[in-house]
Assembly symmetry: C2
Homo-oligomer: 380 residues x 2
DNA sequence: CCAACTTCTTTCGAAATCGAAGATAAAGCG
DNA sequence: CGCTTTATCTTCGATTTCGAAAGAAGTTGG
């Protein structure tokens, strides 16, 4: 339907376009500084990009003491990205323009337990719906990305041994999702997408740990400004053994995994045992906000356990910041307990300038991250 | 004395020279592949480098099915690097050529407790001695590097809060060591140097954890093929809390740090309590080799504790390999206990292709690492 | 308001880089 | 042994990039 044509970018144009699209540069001068190209070369390439309709000049930026820069933006008609973030019981879906800004974002209920085919076909149908409703006429779709709540092999786009995605093991998600399109398709772990999305909001941080505290616990790692995947499974902290008095066997077969104590699912099941029924992790936050002592104590304990695990990782990785996202991140006691544990036990050298903060990018962070990663695939 | 002249490399020449010096490329064709430059450009630049005496053509390499490549090497007369690795009671010192190959390496006793001035002046004098004895006439010194057993602020070359270097806190090591020369001077943590040195022997590993098990415990982290420093303190694992029955207060003021149980110093002090006097960590290895049960049990326990800490980090970082170096690494029970703990408790996804091995680069690894890092500074 | 200074952007000749085609050299194979 | 295949290295015209200089547009401060 909407276009399958390759973007007409050659050589250095792609680099420049990516810098503008990624929000890192807004003027020819910034492009010259960041790309390492000579100002004259930048001007030439930018002229070409404007000529081919991918960039537009839009007013002028604010002066830094001299002539005002002429502000550059990716043209709204340069293309669209369809992005999704799949959770256990609902998904967020959206369309972004090529600068990564959302045109529309929706949250819809869905159930990944229905299996990969049904779920992915539903995503594709939802994308078509969004495109039909919200895409300006003539603007082509340039790429598709989705986040999934499990480990992804980056090479193949397959889900690998996902603990919370029954029936998905080794399913070729990227292949299936992109079957009807001739477009770049990207599949990535949800915490990794969140991390990439947050990283855009932390431009000064080279090393970043982004925790996703939802019904599971995940962590995305940014090293040197870009996502660290390791062999595909990096960022897992849910199956670290924690020190507790009691003793619980985790679904992975080991004793006392962090996930068994501090994940949203674990908190919900403890609350259920105490006769407090809750349906989703954000309900736990609501209970905390309402001052229910059982919930607060549970969340604080979860924070302490998470913090103790982070302790090891902070000493080791020495990040610039820890960002906490996911639905549980809105619970104040969680953050403060994490802070307390990390600051108490870590080396002063590691916590000297360490910031521990709640997500800056809001609920769409993962979708923005999907856009950022997808841009790299599209503009190259 | 010997030269202070800058290397006459401009633009792309530096990149090419670095690739040859770093052992990554041996022929024009490899240079073209790795540098991304066109083969023709590579030929031109290589011709220039040969003309200025920095590169030499030396026989031919082995064919990969076609014409043999003409092997390139950095000229032995292109320059020398003076490198040192400072330990608590002794130092290794050496001279390397610009391809990072050692001309001479010596181990000499020294005592860092004498303070920074005395120690650094001694290093400088030792360098002069080595140069006078071993440097071919007319070959200029191009750079100086030393490893130190403590955290280093990479920006300033100062040692920061080192626990095992009394009197060194905040001392401007790089500045002092380089005072008499107008040359690049590099100061780096010893475990980090070891990691860089090992990384050369693991060309296929993008993510690498290199453990230095000596009288202290350190770890260097290679991410994406290059050293990860974080804010300067990355790689610290010695002050992670371990799970034990007993309870010991570490020098850092916290309870049950790994270092207090598993470092060479800790093992030695336990052995001393048992009436077995040993002077240095390698003596512990000797005891193990002699089958002394107390020593073997201790070392195996240390390996288990280290392995349990690595467990967390392996899940998180998902490295390609863990390399164990340092004087204790020659104790078999240490390695096997580490392996057992990691393979037992880590996620299958993380251990699937994980290799846990002893240092490949031998006792000079840290010096080679110093050379590698120094080359980057010199050839730019 | 004007002069001095910054910063952004373009112009234009010089230099570096590319890429295609050919020359060189060796391995594999009937 | 001579052919084909593979790989390395060089030549040369076309293209891209650079860098210095100048023009454009603003800020700052007397």
């Amino acid at each position: 339907m909407s276009g399958k044509e390759r973007l007409p970018v050659r050589g250095a144009q792609g680099d420049l376009l990516r810098l503008v699209a990624g929000g890192q540069a807004e003027s020819r001068a910034e492009l010259a500084r960041l790309s390492g190209l000579a100002a004259s070369s930048v001007s030439l390439r930018v002229e070409e990009l404007i000529g081919s309709g991918l960039l537009v000049e839009e007013g002028s930026g604010s002066s830094r003491g001299g002539r005002r820069p002429r502000r550059l933006r990716v043209s709204p008609s340069a293309g669209l990205l369809a992005v999704a973030d799949l959770g256990g019981r609902h998904a967020r879906l959206g369309l972004l323009d090529l600068s990564g800004s959302p045109l529309v974002v929706e949250e819809r209920p869905c159930d990944i337990a229905l299996g990969p085919e049904a779920t992915l076909d539903w995503i594709a149908a939802s994308f078509e719906e969004l495109l039909a409703t919200h895409a300006p006429p003539g603007v082509p779709l340039r790429g598709i990305a989705t986040g999934v709540p499990g480990p992804v092999d980056p090479a193949t786009g397959r889900v690998v041994s996902p603990s919370r995605m029954p029936g998905w093991n080794n399913f070729p998600v990227a292949e299936h999702l992109g079957a009807h399109y001739d477009l770049p398709v990207l599949v990535e772990n949800d915490a990794n997408l969140l991390a990439v999305g947050e990283a855009r909001a932390w431009p000064d941080a080279e090393t970043l740990m982004v925790l996703k505290a939802g019904s599971g616990i995940g962590c995305g790692v940014i090293v040197n400004g870009s996502l660290h995947r390791g062999r595909g499974a990096a960022g897992d902290i849910s199956h670290v053994r924690v020190r507790t008095d009691s003793s619980v066997t985790c679904s992975c077969g080991h004793l006392d995994c962090l996930e068994a104590y501090a994940s949203g699912a674990a908190l919900m099941s403890v609350l259920a045992e105490q006769g407090i029924a809750v349906g989703r992790p954000s309900d736990v936050v609501a209970l905390v906000d309402d001052g229910i002592p059982e919930a607060t104590a549970l969340v604080r304990n979860a924070g302490r356990l998470i913090g103790e695990v982070l302790t090891v990782l902070v000493n080791f990785l020495n990040p610039d910041a820890i960002v906490v996202g996911g639905s549980l991140s809105r619970a104040e006691p969680l953050i403060s307990a994490i802070r307390a544990a990390v600051y108490e036990r870590c080396l002063p050298l590691a916590t000297r300038d360490l910031e521990i903060a709640v997500s800056r990018s809001g609920p769409d962070a993962a979708l923005l991250g999907a856009g950022t990663l997808l841009l790299d695939a599209v503009l190259r």
